[in-house]
Amino acid sequence: MPKPFDKLTATAAPIMRSNIDTDVIIRIERLVGNSIRGTLGKWAFGSLRYLPDGSENPDFILNREPYREAEILVTGPNFGCGSSREGAVWSLQERGIRAVIGSGFGDIFFANCFQNGILPVIVDKAVVDQLAADIEATQGAGKVSIDLEAQTIVSPSGARHSFEMDPRRRDGLLKGLDEVALTLQRDDEIHAFQASDRTARPWIHSTRISA
């Protein structure tokens, strides 16, 4: 069950490159196995975070103080595009990230965030750029505040920005709702749908072949 999200004031790290895909967030070989949860935090952004010899890349923002403690990422366009791997979200979560702010995210990554209690916030690119500039102006010392209930972000400069959010998804994050349990409460409706659909589209439901 996801952890509820309501308010957060934290260090934020701008990672502004476009099209950071989920392969870059977590490499595939870290995800091969059934017992990977809890092992992924140190591999988040592996190819950016470590040099070929395995040492930390001092140029990568999450390797620098105070960004090491960042719980918020401010991201470039199309962050989280590509593969559906939920391990991308798990690795960010295990690295301590609780919210991502950008002008747009990969559709599947965006959905996966909500499943894990991570808040993805979409705002205009101009707002993202301003936030990144405000953070850099304080060399990361200035915190970013997010209030999900009020749907606002406050930049280190004090500038306040509002954001849109699907009310259903907001409610789910605020309460940490478990979608599987919620849907199973509608199991009668699922069975009723299937009963009637079996008549309308029998070819969907009879899948056992004799051949």
Binding site: N19, N34, S84, I108, R201
Partner: protein
């Protein structure tokens, strides 16, 4: 009231419950599992004390983590464990598994259409972003994450927001040497890797109608590289002919009923789309990527972008980053760039027609010295059909390696990688940083272009190697 689109028709038919103005609980008709996430999902379900809601609508096959070496030699210990777990957990839940060496095994997005599991008007999900491939048959198909996968196992339903609709119309007659892969790469180059984000894309127009089904599957496969998790083509007579007689397609009287229903699916003439794009296919030439996003694409007769000629600082920096990673010089022609590897395979381009196109170029020629070239058929059935036609022999005679079906070097989940710093021409779908192995450099292209590059030892224009 305006007409309805293909998306709207399929969507409305699957609504179990309306949860909000734009969010519905949708019935899922087909759920495909693979070795990387399938057993994990089934174990997750078990740990919650839940059962698979509809095992008869769920199908599994190993593809990601097993070796594609002859005899499957070299499957890693963890790959073997995942396969063993998939066998145990699917058997315990009563889920059909298409196992190694059996007809039916293969890349999930190749076997679904091939077996007739994927049908027009069906909702199809899989824990893999390239599930959009199945949209080529007129299905509503999309990739999901692990949590949604568990949700579907437990409920045979999924909570989804209704996407916006984008219609991409490909018009005109496709020039010689230009393929479905080139069409979709050209569209990504035109509207960008986020151009389709938030949309379900319907591919339409005369050039889509003229494409065989396997080409439509390739087009839909790259929807996610456009940012769209769903892509689809309206079913037509070609779709029905493709599906007729396949093992899981309806038969007899049920077939007639199904076809009658499928004929109602295409978008109404007065359907309204949120966005519309038109592509003149007569202007498309074979495409090849130069960078680290599928939107970094040019015609094979083009030049690599020169950062010095780009005014916008953000875009200039992005091009510089990509060129540094790729080890390329801005302003140089892309053709002639020497390559180390050629990979023909993946859910994008590993079907029989893809292998035929590559073999046509390879026949009677030799892979250039210093190039390793692999052909990895998409499924056991594709492999057997290709062997029956002698395609394996053409490839082997030309110096290609002929392998067992699987995802292989498309994402390198099974340890099959391009070495650091080496350059690959690949028929797969992603040229991301490290996608084919740490620091590997990937150029996406069509099967014919990839085969031509293997022969030339460098990125090549297949039109210059005419038969």
């Amino acid at each position: 009231m305006p007409g309805r689109s293909l998306l709207e028709k399929i969507w409305d038919q699957h609504v179990i419950a309306r949860l909000s103005e734009d969010t519905d609980l949708l019935h899922i008709d087909r759920h495909l599992l693979h070795d990387l996430g399938g057993s994990r999902g089934l174990l997750d379900l078990k740990s919650r004390g839940l059962k698979v809601h509809n095992p008869e609508l769920t199908f599994a096959t190993p593809d990601h983590a097993l070796s594609t070496a002859p005899g499957r030699a070299g499957t890693s210990k963890i790959g073997q464990e995942l396969l063993a777990a998939l066998r145990v957990e699917t058997a315990a839940s009563g889920i059909t598994l298409f196992d190694v060496d059996q007809p039916g095994q293969g890349i999930v997005h190749v076997i679904g259409p091939e077996l007739g599991l994927s049908l027009p008007g069906a909702t199809i999900v899989c824990g893999d972003s390239h599930t959009c491939t199945h949209g080529g048959l007129g299905a509503l198909a999309f990739g999901i994450g692990s949590s949604e996968l568990t949700h579907v196992l437990a409920t045979q339903a999924l909570i989804q927001r209704r996407p916006k609709t984008l219609r991409a119309r490909f018009e005109g007659k496709l020039p010689l040497g230009v393929t479905a892969k080139d069409m979709i790469l050209a569209l990504i180059g035109q509207i960008g890797a986020a151009g389709g984000t938030g949309y379900a894309v319907e591919y339409a127009g005369s050039a889509i109608r003229a494409l065989p089904i396997e080409g439509r599957l390739t087009i839909c496969n790259l929807s996610i590289e456009l940012g769209a998790k769903m892509g689809m083509v309206a079913p037509d007579e070609k779709t029905f002919e493709f599906l007729r007689g396949r093992p899981y397609a309806p038969q007899g009287e049920m077939w007639d009923r199904a076809v009658k229903a499928w004929r109602e699916l295409p978008s109404d003439p007065d359907a309204v789309f949120d966005r519309e794009v038109v592509i003149d296919v007569e202007k498309i030439i074979p495409q090849v990527t130069w960078g680290i996003s599928p939107e970094h694409v040019v015609g094979v007769d083009g030049v690599i972008p020169d950062p010095k000629a780009i005014d916008d600082p953000a875009r200039r920096a992005a091009v510089e980053t990509a060129l540094e990673y790729m080890g390329l010089q801005g302003g140089a022609p892309i053709a002639g760039t020497p390559v180390d590897w050629v990979f023909i395979g993946s859910c994008t381009n590993s079907r029989l027609s893809d292998l035929r196109a590559a073999a046509e170029v390879a026949r009677g020629r030799k892979v250039a010295a210093g190039v390793r070239a692999w052909v990895v058929p998409g499924s056991e059935n594709v492999k057997r059909e290709a062997v029956a036609e002698g395609l394996d022999k053409i490839f082997i005679d030309a110096g290609f390696e002929w392998r067992e079906p699987g995802c292989s070097m498309c994402l390198a989940a099974n340890g099959e990688v391009v070495a650091p710093g080496q350059r690959s021409v690949s028929t797969s779908n992603r040229n991301f940083v490290g996608r084919q192995g740490p620091r590997a450099r990937t150029h996406l292209a069509s099967p014919a272009s990839a085969a031509a590059s293997a022969i030339a030892g460098a990125i090549a224009d297949v039109r210059m190697m005419g038969r």
